[in-house]
């Protein structure tokens, strides 16, 4: 018995049989030392600059640390207070409203434009290049151009419509739509490219066969195009919703959270409260909740969208 296991062990481990060592080394349990040298520095650096801040954040979320000075443990009171804080709840409400609307618009518009770009059109590469331009622009900087457009140009151009004439950015009920416009404007650039690469994987023969069977363009879209790019749809929806929930730059550029706090997103609230509001611990607790929310939303989306994908 003992000899048997020993024999098995010696044949599975290396180094004990120098003659075979060279060939077997790659298959052995331990990798070559060089591979460990390649990975360890990265793991240490990542832990130091990513995992440690996460853990420190979670630690301080149980204290009353203001960002400076003394602090004490307060248990779960930060977390409990979050659920009673109207400003926090409003920020989550705004972030979700914004993210859902922006995700729908981004995906509908970019899929439509990708379909157009995938059709046989003149100067296709030129147009494709034009639609990708927003990706290389800093959203904050182009956002200031949009801000001028909404606050100075649009009131003069559409002076007949009160909503625009009075500067939509100062309207507590509708300012968020301007932020959606800017965010979607930029996010479409990347989404179009992903959809376009998805559309190019569909063989043209399928459409020929479908049109021989008398399928109209809309039918072709619902029965061929959409099912075949649903993987790209999934990834685009998940990525855009996750990105939009964390919206920050477009708000800073357009409204800075205003008027009042009507366009304050969770990220902006954490930034403001944590750095200038003396709410370091409180806002880290908010960030922990935010992390849980984003993870749940992303996983939920993946499940729902993948199940739907499998139906086809």
């Amino acid at each position: 018995m003992t000899t048997l296991t020993q024999a098995v062990r010696s044949s599975s481990t290396t180094g004990e049989k120098p003659a075979r060592a060279k060939r077997v080394r790659l298959e052995s349990r331990r990798a070559l030392p060089a591979f460990y040298w390649m990975v360890w520095p990265a793991v240490i650096a990542f832990a130091a600059f990513h995992t440690v801040p996460v853990l420190v954040g979670i630690f301080f979320s149980f204290t009353n640390y203001a960002g400076y000075g003394e602090w004490n443990f307060v248990g779960f009171s930060n977390y409990l207070n979050l659920f009673k804080d109207d400003r926090v709840l409003a920020a989550y409400g705004f972030s979700f409203l914004f993210a859902i609307v922006a995700t729908i618009l981004t995906n509908v518009l970019s899929l439509a434009i990708a379909l157009g770009l995938n059709a046989k059109i003149r100067a296709r590469n030129f147009w494709r290049g034009v639609y990708f331009v927003p990706y290389v622009l800093a959203i904050l900087v182009i956002g200031y151009v949009f801000q001028f457009f909404f606050s100075n140009s649009l009131p003069k151009i559409l002076s007949g419509i009160p909503l625009f004439a009075d500067n939509i950015l100062t309207n507590p009920d509708w300012a968020w739509t301007a932020i959606v416009a800017l965010a979607v404007w930029q996010a479409c650039a990347f989404a179009i490219i992903i959809y376009l690469s998805g559309l190019q994987t569909i063989p043209a023969e399928l459409y020929e066969a479908a049109s021989l069977d008398g399928a109209k363009p809309w039918r072709q879209f619902t029965s061929i195009t959409f099912p075949l790019i649903s993987a790209f749809f999934t990834i685009n929806v998940v990525l855009s919703l996750k990105g939009f929930l964390q919206v920050f730059d477009p708000i800073v550029a357009l409204t800075n959270g205003g008027p009042g706090t009507s366009t304050e997103s969770v990220t902006l609230l954490i930034f403001r409260g944590g750095f200038s509001g003396g709410e370091f611990a409180y806002q880290t607790a908010n960030a922990v909740i935010f992390f849980v929310v984003i993870t749940i939303v992303s996983l939920f989306q993946f499940r729902v969208l993948q199940r739907r994908e499998a139906d086809f």
Binding site: I113, V145, I193
Partner: protein, 305 residues
């Protein structure tokens, strides 16, 4: 039915004739697309592209105006006479050379370090992914994709301040490390498609693992290096929130930050501000215009696998 096919074939012949006309040479067969040109789609795409071009046009014309010209119109009128002085003024007010140098240093540094480190780590992980340690590391790094930046934002600022990394060097370190998750994801899929026999041949010749990476793997990674390089470059150049919270010294501020400060200081001075915005957007935009196809194919490659 007959008439329909007739008109269709006539149209086809017409399009062919147009394409065959002298001076309108068909481009060297871009793809094997035998469909007819869809003029409706072309027109629609052209009209929709105005949503992209109009904001850019607005940025240009406002930057060329005097404040009086701007106040008298909607902003879209072409200025006459053009006021070029906005640019030197913006140059001085935002200390443009300094902000440009900071952004350039951070971007170039991040791209170089990212390419050198992410590819090595991804190589080690891809070749040992069946081993528990490496698999664990892979998922450890990948899990970070789920963690939103706000949760590390507040503690990170304390940490970088304590370590003296609240400067350009610190930004390079942070972009390199935070990019790791996505980059490894992009690289490993590609590395696994490289046949291991190539490496074994080099090993038989006595090459060390590092040597194998340097002379066999890294050159083969060029398409993915382009993808990772483009993504890192655009991210580092345009990022706003990270430099905003990490950088403390005003002399270290990047181009987006310089615009941010601008906003508060000269609130009504739109013409100079717009000149400044243009100068901030121009470098990357110009690079993009000249390497458009390369950039798009690079980004596409990263998103497919």
């Amino acid at each position: 039915m007959t008439t329909a096919t007739n008109t269709a074939s006539q149209l086809e012949a017409e399009v062919d004739a147009i394409a065959a006309m002298p001076g309108r040479k068909r481009r060297g067969n871009p793809d094997d697309d035998t469909r007819r040109v869809n003029w409706w789609a072309t027109a629609l795409i052209a009209v929709c592209s105005l949503t992209i071009l109009i904001p850019l046009y607005l940025a240009v014309v406002v930057a060329l105006k005097t404040p009086e010209q701007l106040a008298s119109g909607t902003g879209f009128e072409w200025p006459n006479p053009i006021r070029w002085e906005n640019f030197p003024e913006a140059w001085e007010r935002t200390n443009f050379p300094q902000a440009l140098a900071n952004t350039a240093i951070i971007t170039v540094g991040s791209v170089v370090f990212t390419l050198l480190t992410s590819s090595v780590v991804a190589y080690a992980l891809a070749r040992n992914i069946h081993r528990p340690f490496f698999k664990g590391v892979f998922f450890y790094l990948l899990a970070a994709l789920f963690i939103p930046f706000p949760i590390i934002m507040l503690p990170l600022v304390k940490q970088t301040a304590i370590l003296g990394l609240d400067n350009q060097a610190g930004m390079i370190v942070l972009y390199t490390i935070y990019g790791l998750s996505l980059n490894i994801f992009i690289y490993t899929a590609y590395i696994r498609s490289i046949p291991i026999e190539l490496e074994e041949a080099a090993r038989v010749d006595g090459a060390s693992t590092w040597r194998v990476f340097r002379s066999v793997i890294f050159p083969l990674l060029m398409p993915m290096n382009a993808t990772v390089g483009i993504l890192t470059c655009v991210w580092a150049w345009n990022d706003f929130i990270m430099p905003l919270v990490v950088l403390t010294d005003p002399a270290a501020r990047t181009l987006p930050l310089a615009q941010y400060v601008f906003q508060g200081q000269f609130n009504t001075d739109y013409t100079v501000a717009f000149a400044s915005y243009l100068m901030a957007m121009a470098p990357l935009l110009i690079v993009y215009i000249f390497s458009q196809r390369w950039v798009i194919s690079g980004v596409t490659r990263g998103s497919i696998k």
